[in-house]
Point group: C2
Chain length 329, copies 2
DNA sequence: TTGTAGGCGTTATCAT
DNA sequence: ATGATAACGCCTACAA
């Protein structure tokens, strides 16, 4: 591997000049040409580690998520990498499965100068371990630190879901969801749903377990038991698409039809892949916008000296799939 | 940020000793203690860039895939990151959307010492740009270089698909798929399917377009037109799950029912997330095994001096979903 | 405009 | 077992 010295020697100039040329400073045209020729001849590439050692910029960012193996997170990852590329910055991914240890490991890595910043979706108490100097964007949950915080309009999403179920003719509304021990933004999906139901005096019931007293499957099965006994027109809003899919599967095993017997609206509205057709009616998060905003804000934070953290809320929208009837209003 | 010098000073030892201690070499117990105390006191973390500069090991690997926003690739990414962690190695991801330029950019990055190796799924001609010294694992497609090559048993998968459709009672079999310009392993899915049909004298027809003369949607619609006119018992094998989903959507828009009117088997069998229930009957690739093998082989290649490239084939299996009837044999 | 030299934080060699 | 010191490849004053 050729070094800057080799280039300098071949071009008959000093390393200083080569360095300047590489970094876009002014050099005489003729020397520039000399240098470029040498670079081409030697197939020279600057060693990023030596650069990083001097400059403390690594042009890489770590994304901390529960798991990339999930439509929402994989879409987010896709877009974040895409926008990061505009800054010539690489994306390192960290699947934590909500494992605090692993999160800390990556934060340590960041402290070792390995990355310029962090974008995190984490539902454990990682806040206190993040050093103040390190640029952080947190999605869906506010760090106690003064970091910028980006989230979808979960509350509004809950309202819309209730409204859409109502419009589609459901007379009995249900919320099904699960919360982690650490408070996070998704609880607002429930709040919006509840408030809307209260406001319009709708019949509704909430199945919400915080933590994991029962396994999701058990809790879901219990929920399905109750649904099965009802004969009104049922509409269910689940806190995530994944739970919606699980519910659909459970109901189908019991011979119940969606949307004929039960209408379902999920939350996320992300698709397994860019081309996957929409099946599930859902409240769609604007993943693209979240990713774009995250990257922009992170870059601001990295580049600006004095950065004022913000809270940014991204709108959501309802998408009509095949698990609810079209609105009849 | 404390450096190794600060630690040495505080512990009253030389930097050499600190370095040894950090790297697990032998030091006297008492000095070890001294050093550890200093490290704790200063909250010291080695600077990875300085380390990389010396050792030329970066403990990072880049994964080149078309897009992480896809069930198969996101599952693969998940497992690769998981196994890489056992080697304390980070994963950088590169979504190429099959863009040669972007692939090259990441390979350049690798040449800059930024990564220790590459795992790639790429359907463009990237081979010749990979320098010989760089460890590479290629999945699904053999590089011309002498790199290790890992793939599922696509041929067998094609055979199984035909057989399962036959067993499930289909009398007219179809293959639907799309190939990229560059030859790759997935063509064996078709071959296995064809050979099986020939061997057992089954009625079958192939819809396969190489390159992209028509858009996938158009080609699919054309295919659905033809299916719609038939009245025999139809079974379709698609080259990917994604195409299967698109077909199901297309058929549903035409009022055709799966599996009652048409049975469908996809290929990949990967799920959107770990908990997503299985709906599609499919030939499942053992993504976990592919990931594990890729990482192990890559690490061998990185660590061993003389490495002999291998071709590794991972078995596939049929999974029964709800888009085919249970076998009646 | 260009060249020189010191230093970034580590590791590794060589004495001690 | 430990300490001193020369690299690793690059950037950046400072000097010329």
């Amino acid at each position: 591997m050729a070094t800057i010295k080799d280039v300098a020697k071949l071009a008959n100039v000093s390393v200083g000049s080569v360095s300047k040329y590489i970094n876009g400073h002014k050099v005489k045209d003729t020397t520039a040409e000399l240098i470029q020729n040498a670079i081409d001849a030697l197939n020279y590439e600057p060693n990023i580690y030596a650069q990083g050692l001097k400059t403390n910029r690594t042009f890489s960012v770590v994304l901390i998520i529960p798991t990339v193996w999930d439509p929402f997170y994989s879409e987010l990852t896709y877009y974040i990498e895409k926008y990061l590329e505009e800054y010539d910055t690489k994306l390192i991914i960290c699947n934590t499965k909500n494992d605090l240890d692993k999160e800390l490991k990556f934060i340590t890595m960041a402290r070792q100068n390995k990355v310029d910043g962090i974008i995190a979706i984490t539902y454990s108490n990682v806040d206190e371990h993040v050093p103040d100097e390190l640029p952080v964007i947190s999605i869906d949950r506010s760090f106690s630190k003064h970091s910028t915080f980006i989230t979808s309009d979960n509350y509004k999403g809950g309202e819309i879901a209730a409204q859409k179920l109502q419009d589609a003719g459901s007379s009995e509304l249900f919320y099904f969801g699960q919360g982690s021990k650490i408070e996070n933004e998704t609880i607002n999906r429930l709040k919006g749903f509840q408030d809307y139901c209260e406001q319009y005096s709708l019949n509704y019931k909430v199945y919400y377990q915080k933590g994991r007293r029962h396994s999701t499957a058990d809790y879901l099965s219990e929920f399905a038991d109750d649904l099965q006994e009802m004969d009104q027109s049922i509409g269910v809003f689940t806190d995530t698409d994944t739970h919606a899919w699980m519910l659909i599967d459970e109901l189908s095993n019991r011979g119940l039809k969606v949307p004929e017997d039960i209408q379902i609206i999920g939350f996320d509205g992300s698709k397994s892949s860019q081309q996957t057709p929409t099946f599930l009616s859902s409240i769609r998060q604007n993943v693209n916008a979240i990713a774009k905003e995250s990257v922009q804000q992170l870059m601001l934070q990295i580049e600006e000296d004095h950065f004022v953290p913000k809270k940014i809320i991204i709108p959501v929208e309802f998408i009509q799939g095949k698990t609810t009837f079209p609105s009849n209003v």
